[in-house]
């Protein structure tokens, strides 16, 4: 067998860095379906997984890919899929099954331009709200938006760790630009990589209840074949995992599914502040657009405009408190994203009209140039 962690310094694409991050996190199953601009993740893992004792399978569609990923996870194996817009749409129902049955796994969306087939080879950030609400029913989700190949490597590991800790599908909402750009990526020594695995049940097997939560509202998770006789269903279920079609049980289940995320926001949410301490204008951005934004901040500062950047690494759950806190001390906000206003809506919601908020957005297909942000900074404030 080959080593799963290829320690070293590389010049690789974001997609390849993502695949290497998955291996470093302990991912040993990938089920996917080819789609630009995520295909390279699958291709890289088709080479690497069998050599580290894992399995790669190209399924017949993204619905099957997502189902297989959930099945593998219940087999006790860390699993992942990667796709882009159209495939992400197809995965939605089974992402919901993953949420309801609390199945750890990672779903990567290397975003391209939609709606529909759109501009298949060009990047966008148009699936951010789909990531939040794309599957039916109400739920909480975790979505990360790394801004460089190096960060994609680390955040893929982190996505696995979060999914194993909180038992849900974690979404990596990267974009074509980050997925396809080549940059220096350092893969550290295996000893320096922190990985988390799902908490396993202890105690008597016949007394075991599949969804009896521990202190952080997450229940320990056995794998199939360990003698627990688990029943796993997407129907509303009680703590035994048994279907129960009552409003009360549904509420209890929902309280926990939502509570395990909302109750651990400090552990989950990551943001990065850039020149924000004395800023009068806060730019909010993520993924490739955060690069546009930090360049715009530097330009603005040269012109005496006190701008700063709040970079969202975690997009969902949304860092509401951070925005509210900023709203008390800045004169206004600018959201930069390659869509026509999705995270912008969240920013507005959190500001609650206290200060003005502007959007620098695009329908997609290209990186937003820093000049466009600078113009708004100059004119609007």
């Amino acid at each position: 067998m080959k080593p799963a962690i290829n320690t070293g310094e590389y010049f690789i694409t974001g997609d390849v860095a993502c695949a290497e991050g998955a291996l470093a996190a302990g991912c040993r199953f990938f089920g996917g379906y080819p789609i630009t601009p995520a295909t390279e993740i699958a291709e890289h893992l088709s080479v690497r997984l069998p050599k580290v004792g894992g399995t790669f399978i190209q399924m017949e569609d993204e619905i099957a890919a997502m189902a297989a990923v959930l099945g593998a996870s219940w087999g006790g194996v860390k699993s992942m899929t990667a796709t882009s817009g159209p495939g992400f749409s197809l995965m939605m129902e089974n992402i919901g099954l993953g949420i309801c049955t609390e199945t750890p796994c990672v779903v990567v969306n290397v975003q391209r331009v939609g709606p529909s087939t759109g501009l298949p080879t060009q990047g966008a950030q148009g699936d951010m709200m789909q990531a939040r609400w794309g599957s039916h029913g109400h739920y909480e989700i975790i979505a990360l938006a790394p801004f460089s190949p190096q960060e994609l490597f680390y955040q893929t590991i982190h996505a696995f760790n979060l999914s194993e800790t909180y038992r849900l599908p974690v979404l990596i909402m990267t974009d074509e630009m980050v997925g396809h750009m080549s940059e220096k990526v350092i893969i550290p020594d295996a000893k320096k990589i922190k990985t988390v695995s799902r908490c396993k049940p202890k105690g008597r097997k016949n007394r075991f209840k599949l969804y009896e939560p521990g202190p952080n509202l997450v229940a320990p998770m056995p794998a199939a074949g360990e003698g627990y006789n688990i029943h796993v269903t997407g129907l509303t279920h009680d703590t035994r995992g048994y279907p129960d079609m009552t409003v009360e049980t549904h509420k209890q289940m929902m309280d926990r599914l939502i509570g395990k995320i909302r109750g651990n926001l400090n552990d989950i949410i990551q943001t990065e502040s850039y020149r924000l301490d004395d800023a009068e204008i806060a730019i909010v951005s993520y993924g490739i657009s955060a690069r546009t934004s930090s360049a715009a901040v530097d330009e603005a500062r040269k012109r005496g405009i006190k701008a700063g950047l709040l970079r969202l690494i975690t997009v969902w759950p949304f860092p509401e408190d951070k925005i509210r806190e900023l709203a008390n001390r800045v004169k206004g906000f600018v959201t930069v994203e390659i869509n026509l206003g999705q995270i912008h809506l969240e920013v507005q919601r959190c500001i609650g009209g206290k200060v003005p908020a502007f959007l620098v957005g695009d329908a997609g297909g290209a990186v937003i140039p820093p000049d466009r942000v600078l113009e708004v900074l100059k004119e609007a404030f």
């Binding site: 199953f29 050599k51 099957a64 099945g71 796993v232 269903t233």
Partner: protein, 277 residues
């Protein structure tokens, strides 16, 4: 057993008795097919800890909720790809997919043919009741031509699938068809396929008196009478010859039992092996 207590169910150790009674209607055939499946698991002598059941959505799909094994009730049509992921992650497990005709062959048809083509080492038991029982009896991909259902009020204008033929053409290594009246043969077939390596498919013809029978002038006993009088057991019949024809007679039996490498075996050989530099 304490004196005065009724004897337990013979399959008690494989049943979630705390979930009984089931949702299945009186006269429904699913329970019989399910019992055969449990008996086969028992007779196969495979450690039940290592046997897993995966179902989709439908009346038949509820089976996973009653079996006292690790069991998964997934989404409509997706039991097979879920089982594929589970089996590839855990080759040590024996994986049974137990689901309905609508689930496996309409919404999930694409997954069926691909799992058979890949020869994923699982056993698929399909309860074919010719309709979508759970949602009220609408037409399925198996509904006979001209049959009346709530979505074919003038008679079904479509042609149904011949399921064994589809399984055979897609690459299944074991293909059989029985009715719930042939529970001994059915049990034997399931038992055989559990220990067989590769993609096995067993079709079980089963009455849905409530939603299908009622609209097609078949009382529960009529259906069983058809299963008795108009079936012909013909092992090794070619799958092209077994389309369901009540006039000619319904052909039952084991149609295919061949061997070829599974996905897992080929993957290990072709992809896992380090090639000499």
């Amino acid at each position: 057993m304490k004196p005065g207590h009724p004897p337990g169910h013979p399959l008690e150790d494989l049943l979630r008795t705390d979930r009984i009674p089931s949702i299945w209607c009186p006269g429904c055939g699913i329970g019989t097919a399910f019992s055969s499946c449990l008996t086969a698991i028992k007779e196969s002598k495979i450690d039940p800890k290592k046997v897993v059941m995966v179902s989709g959505i439908g009346c038949s799909g509820r089976a996973a909720g009653y079996v006292k094994l690790d069991s998964f009730h997934t989404t409509h049509g997706r039991a097979i790809p879920f089982a594929t992921g589970l089996k590839l992650a855990r080759p040590d497990l024996t994986v049974i997919v137990f689901s309905g005709d609508g689930d496996l062959f309409a919404i999930g048809g694409n997954h069926f043919i691909h799992a058979a083509r890949r020869n994923i080492d699982i056993t698929v038991v399909c309860v074919n009741n010719f309709n979508y029982g759970m949602t009220g009896g609408q037409a399925a991909a198996t509904t006979p031509s001209m049959a009346k259902t709530p979505t074919t009020p003038y008679g079904n204008p479509e042609t149904p699938f011949n399921l064994p033929l589809m399984a055979y053409a897609s690459g299944a290594v074991y293909v059989a068809r029985w009715t719930i009246l042939h529970s001994r043969d059915l049990t034997e077939s399931i038992n055989e396929s559990l220990t067989k390596t590769g993609f096995s498919f067993i079709e079980v013809l089963s009455p849905c008196p409530v939603n299908y029978g009622r609209r097609n002038k078949e009382k529960p006993l009529d259906t069983l009478k058809i299963y008795k009088d108009r079936t012909i057991i013909k092992n090794k019949a070619h799958p092209t010859q077994v389309d369901l024809d009540y006039e000619k007679g319904i052909i039952l039996g084991k149609f295919v039992d061949v061997d070829r490498p599974t996905f897992g075996e080929s993957y290990a050989k072709i992809c896992r092996q380090d090639k000499p530099e």
